[in-house]
Symmetry: D2
Subunit: 257 residues, 4 copies
């Protein structure tokens, strides 16, 4: 069986069309039911990633190998998701990469945590703080499922009471009142270390900016990314009429000493 | 001297204000001249990253540790730069992360190459193809400067004649006629492998999309990210009046088999 | 009865909340049914515009005097609607105003026709051409309903065969193949007269631009307006998450002689 | 001499290329100097609008008949300009058209005043209030120049002290603290009358929204229009890289009684 063949217990993205796919774990003898018919897992085992299978109603499903983005958008989530565009911008601007030490609060569903853990592997680490027990448990399960729990330390704690980490490279604040955590996270960062906060409203962006400047952070700026799909069809190309209007403002800063 | 102190030969980002900074290498006895006065490197050595120094005219410059984004935006570049927002989106959507094997053409200034090499370290690799000798030389120097050349193999070759890599995880096409490389890059990818192309114009996005569908790629879609800075000031917050109108369309696809 | 009181036979916009309203004509003894209960027209007659009425289920509906935009968005329409943002931009840029002579094709539902007729009144006029009989009939009924038919001449004709008007101030092309009408509409315009075309796709914008330049038009440019609602709520203001991604490109030009 | 020929004393838009034009008044014997050479007015007189003339350096300038938008963008202005996209949206949404009675504060340079006066002609009227004498004088001169002063009554007064107009159709507030004028303008409007305010910042939009709801206004909503130029060139079409990032939020409401 080829290396790229699908085995029992593999995770597979059953893809019908854009915005219509299912992330499943293959189990010998089981079936997956969709509005477009059911699919026998036995018919999937042994096929190559990238190939296809027919459902009971004759629809073609493609068998894709899920990427981190596929996982994140499907995490069990008690909280707002962070979109790939925003995850990517945070990674690109903060310099998230192998070896980096990251501190984060809150953990939420662990989606942002997982994304970061996946990039700081194998020698970096994410220390994440969450006050709600039930969120932390969901996040741990999500991280376990994608095999990234080894690169993460989850702590049930209100980060504004201070955290034990020192000399972190990157700090991420994703809570409703980010300004309350600036002092703790400043202490956790090394000089010139990067901080990013995620704010759905402009009032939060305004308030966190004032607090960051007050606490001596440098290069403080805020950006939002507007994602616009292009329907590229020969002779009739245009931006999609469907569009997400807003996700979040991201405020970046570097620690001054 | 503290671990986070600046040493001779270190790279430092001299930061005056947003959109006004200089990336310099510290050399004992040298000076850096700016429109806001000159700065003695000797006055920088021994200071901590995140601290500040005064120029000859009394202006305060912050001493920041450059991130990968700081480097990329300042690469010597014979070609169009790829912006952090676009780099990040490519990373997030393709699943770029440690261990991945990436094929790319063209190399250009090596900025995208460097960004990717930085993320696939230490066990992944970027194989990059460029037909113009002089671009390849610039790229190599840029990669050397940021210490990432070990994770990159540069080859002077027209990728449309075929490339030797097999089972790559990710393929990136950043040339003016991306459709000419689809066949070669399809052969280089493993089943379900991710491909991304970068197209300044809608016509390119239209043409590459048709070619990808024709060649059996799956989940083909195109997006552009519009970056909007928010000027977050207490009681007078608004989007910035300055804005980059457009950078590029990114088309994503996965290899069907 | 006050001048601003609602009379039998008046048009009223029954407003429940944003994006949830009904445009009705008041008829003594009738009822209007909504998902939030029914409303007796007799309970409306004699009330002032701006006041409110309760439905059978106790919901409050406001009684608003419909504006031209309220009408246009609710025209019977065999074709794509033109949004207020685009109508307004066409008016502002072409100088649409009382006394102007306008030529238009196609008529479609007559929404754009009505908007323009409302602005060129009382001494201007809109000459509109449509090849599909059934569209022209719908448009006439729509124009009749809003009392603007006197300022419009509708003609069933393929405008590319030439039209009889000379020295028009403004020409509007809103058909799928706008380039076929440029010659006719150039002949109808006075020197320096304004032309605007509405194109859903970039390919149409590209093709009409080439044709306009080829035919000697001046100041040819294309714009799209992206409409972004702001949810302005004390302490939690942010752009709306719902958004229309794209409506149309508008290409403007002036006739060269 | 043809009706569309240019006469002494006419206003002409000397057009060199997009974003490069001059609005001049033709004076027998005079010259206009530009960076691309000078142009003799005598060479312009008698030519048709839409035709061209050569400058002393051999550059071709087109002779265009200025529209209201051409005037407004060039008004002497002590204050921020209102852009055509925003003017148009205000017109389309408030139902600005011949016969409407409009109240406005402040007058500023009179650009918005002129735009509205041009649309409510000949039987409508704009009543505009301004506290700064010098602005009012500039506005009057601007209105005189475009021949619209007959349709405007300018009053030097702080509108928050109350205004004498009753039963206006439309109220426009374009001042830094729009919430202070809501009471006065509510009294001036008829029931269900339309109000629009123009706010550069999100904080202003937030505060005026709260005040409008507090004062019983209905259908209160806020929008910003993002204008994106498309560079439509055969085979290489893309959004322009230059773009204005932000102009203003427009908040609309209707008077409840």
């Amino acid at each position: 069986m080829s290396d790229s063949a699908i085995n029992d217990n593999d995770l597979v993205l059953l893809y019908l069309k854009q915005h219509k796919s299912w992330l499943i774990r293959i189990k010998k003898g089981e079936k997956t039911h969709t509005h477009a018919g059911f699919i026998e897992h036995n018919a999937i085992i042994g096929k190559e990633f990238g190939s296809s299978v027919e459902s009971s109603t004759g629809k073609t499903f493609r068998l894709l190998k899920p990427t981190i983005a596929d996982f994140l958008m499907r995490f069990s989530r008690p909280t707002q998701v962070v979109y790939p565009k925003d995850l990517g911008m945070i990674a690109a601007w903060t310099g998230l990469s192998p070896g980096k030490i990251v501190v984060e609060s809150g953990t939420g569903s662990g989606a942002l945590t997982a994304f970061m853990a996946n990039l700081v592997r194998p020698n970096g680490h994410v220390y994440t703080y969450e006050i709600r027990e039930e969120f932390m448990e969901v996040a741990k399960k999500n991280l376990q499922k994608v095999g990234l729990l080894d690169y993460v330390t989850t702590t049930k704690k209100d980060a504004k009471e201070g955290i034990d980490i020192k000399d972190a490279d990157i700090a991420i604040i994703d809570v409703g009142d980010p300004w309350t955590l600036v002092e703790s996270f400043k202490n956790a960062l090394k000089g010139s270390g990067m901080l990013a906060t995620i704010s759905p409203t402009m009032n939060q962006a305004e308030k966190i900016t004032a607090e960051l400047l007050e606490k001596g952070f440098i290069d403080v700026w805020t950006v939002e990314l507007i994602s616009r799909e292009l329907e590229a069809r020969t002779g009739m190309t245009r931006p999609s009429m469907r569009m997400i209007g807003h996700t979040a403002y991201i405020t970046f800063a570097r620690k001054g000493v």
